[in-house]
Amino acid sequence: MSEVPVAQRRGTGRTRPRRTRLRARTLVVALLVLVAALVGAVLLGAGDIGWQRVLAELVAEVTGGRSPLSAREAAIVWQLRVPRVVLAGLVGAALSVSGATFQGVFRNPLADPYLLGAAAGAGMAATLVVVLAPAVSAWLPAAAFAGALGGVGLSWLLGRSAGRTGTATLLLAGVAVGSFLTAIQTFVQQLNTTTIRQIYTWILGGLNVSTWTDVLLALPYIAPAAVVLCLCARLLDILALGDAEAASLGLRPGRVRLLLIAAASLATAAAVSVSGLIGFVGIVVPHLVRLLAGASYRVVIPLSLIGGAVFLIVADEIARTVLPGEIPLGVVTAFTGAPFFVAVLRSSRGQRT
């Protein structure tokens, strides 16, 4: 090995090291893509109103002109389509950013937002509501929300009672709680088999009954959680070094983990309460973002928000327009999962194991 030059600056040919950060240009491009997806999804829908007329309607709304659509068509656009697209964006963003956070917290590329029992808790709560109070379906979102948070809370408490706040303990606790809650859900379902279709429909996940109410229900939880996670993105990079090194850098790993999991679970619970259990978004989108923009969470977190929104808007668009009927949204997102894992497998072949 050559002598290391001490305090000797080399010639001007050397470039300054560039850190990975979210450049304004990247952000602008991402936001443009989001807007394009939003508008595109509103213009093309299951009903055949004709995209030119819908475009005219949008323009008229913005400029205050006269609406070219009939009352019913306007209702379709503003009461059905727009809230559905907006909700798809919200839910996609929430699930993606939660998935990215969980992948960082658990240092595991296969982590998803449902890891700590959020899905199991929500499913069980939804089952109980459908079985016990079927006519009061307005309670379903609240129950699912509480169930999701309850599942994560239980996992956390269980992990802590084991004496350690390490990630392995937490994961095991999550698996235990998830299995238990799923068992309860299955048991209750078996006793009330006439409600199976309703529960199953909800579990499959879908946005076809979205209204502005749902948007207003989910937004107050998803927005602050997203802000917190964006601000804490750097902490995820440090956590990735392992608890010992993170502590030596001045962090309290247990506390930071708690904050991150709480914020991510809040966003997940809100998403699940209005849209059921939509899978794969939380795993696929952060990985795609990493492939395109780099592995630092400072970039992955905010771009996962935008990328997730675009992803789910497009997926929902496919779910409602490709075939004359509605394809369950969970099916569309699952279809992206298989080729995605194949792609990840192939790309990781080139890396060292």
Partner: protein, 333 residues
């Protein structure tokens, strides 16, 4: 044909006693007369009977058993029937076989006097069923090898699945009648139901313009196409189902529609089959965002149906048909 032998046997001895020989010569003549009579009787017996006989006579119980329906043989009139089919429960009571029932499943809620139990129809437990010591079990599907399990204890299982057409439903009335020793009632019930329904349909004033309808199974917009059993009933009124017209592989006969599509189609009639399960009414429908622009909502053509009647195929179908008829009459004006 299986009825014929006992009848034949019942009448044969009288015929023989009638032709009692007195002399050896008239004995031969009498014998040939007897043989001719027997042959004639046998020929007459082998002739096919008309399917719907006069049903004024009291049901022939002992005489009509054993009965074979498909691969199931019922040896004698069942007096301890377990019904795992809410439809069959209703039908059995309509046939007058109510006293023969000892247990009905947890979903059989009509009529109220049916012997309600906790038996689960969708995942039946052969042991629990056998505990009622039945001599016949009626169900809609042979789940989990139920009939094989019950056969081990000597209990026959009659499987009456959901029918595809109205005629299939009527045939089930007849089958149930036959199986429980109420064949005449079965045939009469089938005939009566068919006539009632035909009368209602014929008596409904034809709408001034073609009407379309949306049939709602639950509040996430699951619907049924006109290829289904219910759909066919509606089709008899000349109603067009908005769930038809291509649902692709993503729906089959029970597609999930989107609110957008329903609003676009603007059906003249909306039928709610989720009034009991999911608390939907004309008011809740009108409260859905954007739905107040629908013609059916504005003009009050949102009809709530009884979930149970709409999902069963019992004689109460007539009520369903009547409800539809009333709706069509009012909307067609």
């Amino acid at each position: 044909m299986s009825r014929l032998l006992p009848t034949h046997a019942a009448t044969f001895p009288p015929a023989a006693t009638r032709a009692r020989p007195r002399r050896s010569r008239s004995r031969t003549a009498a014998l040939s007369f007897v043989s001719l009579l027997a042959a004639l009787l046998m020929l007459g017996g082998c002739a096919t009977h008309a399917p719907d006989q006069d049903s004024t006579a009291k049901p022939d119980t002992e005489a009509t058993f054993p009965v074979t329906i498909g691969s199931v043989t019922i040896d004698r009139q069942p007096m301890r029937i377990v019904s795992l089919s809410p439809t069959a429960t209703e039908t059995l009571y309509s046939l007058g076989a109510g006293p023969q029932l000892v247990a009905v499943d947890s979903d059989s809620d009509f009529p109220p006097q049916a012997p309600h139990t906790n038996l689960n129809a969708l995942s039946p437990d052969p042991e629990a069923i056998a505990a009622y010591n039945p001599d016949l079990v009626v169900t809609t599907a042979d789940t989990g090898g139920l009939s094989a399990a019950l056969a081990k204890t000597g209990v026959p299982t009659l499987v009456l699945p959901a029918p595809n057409t109205l005629d299939d439903a009527y045939a089930q009335f007849i089958t149930l009648g036959k199986a429980t020793g109420h064949q005449a009632e079965g045939e009469s019930l089938a005939r009566q139901t068919r006539d009632d329904i035909n009368k209602i349909v014929a008596g409904t004033p034809k709408p001034a313009h073609p009407l379309s309808y949306y049939y709602e199974l639950d509040q996430t917009y699951y619907s049924e196409t006109s290829a289904t059993f219910i759909g066919q009933i509606f089709a008899r009124f000349g109603l067009k189902n908005i769930a038809d017209g291509g649902t692709g592989p993503a729906g089959g006969d029970y597609p999930q529609l989107s609110a957008e599509r329903i609003l676009q189609a603007d059906p003249s009639l909306i039928f709610l089959a989720d009034t009991k399960c999911c608390g939907q009414t004309a008011q809740t429908v009108a409260a859905r965002p954007g739905w107040n622009t629908l013609t059916a909502v504005e003009q009050g053509h949102v009809v709530g149906l009884d979930d149970d009647i709409a999902s069963r195929w019992s004689p109460r179908l007539v009520d369903l048909v009547q409800a539809v008829s009333t709706a069509v009459a009012s909307a067609g004006r």
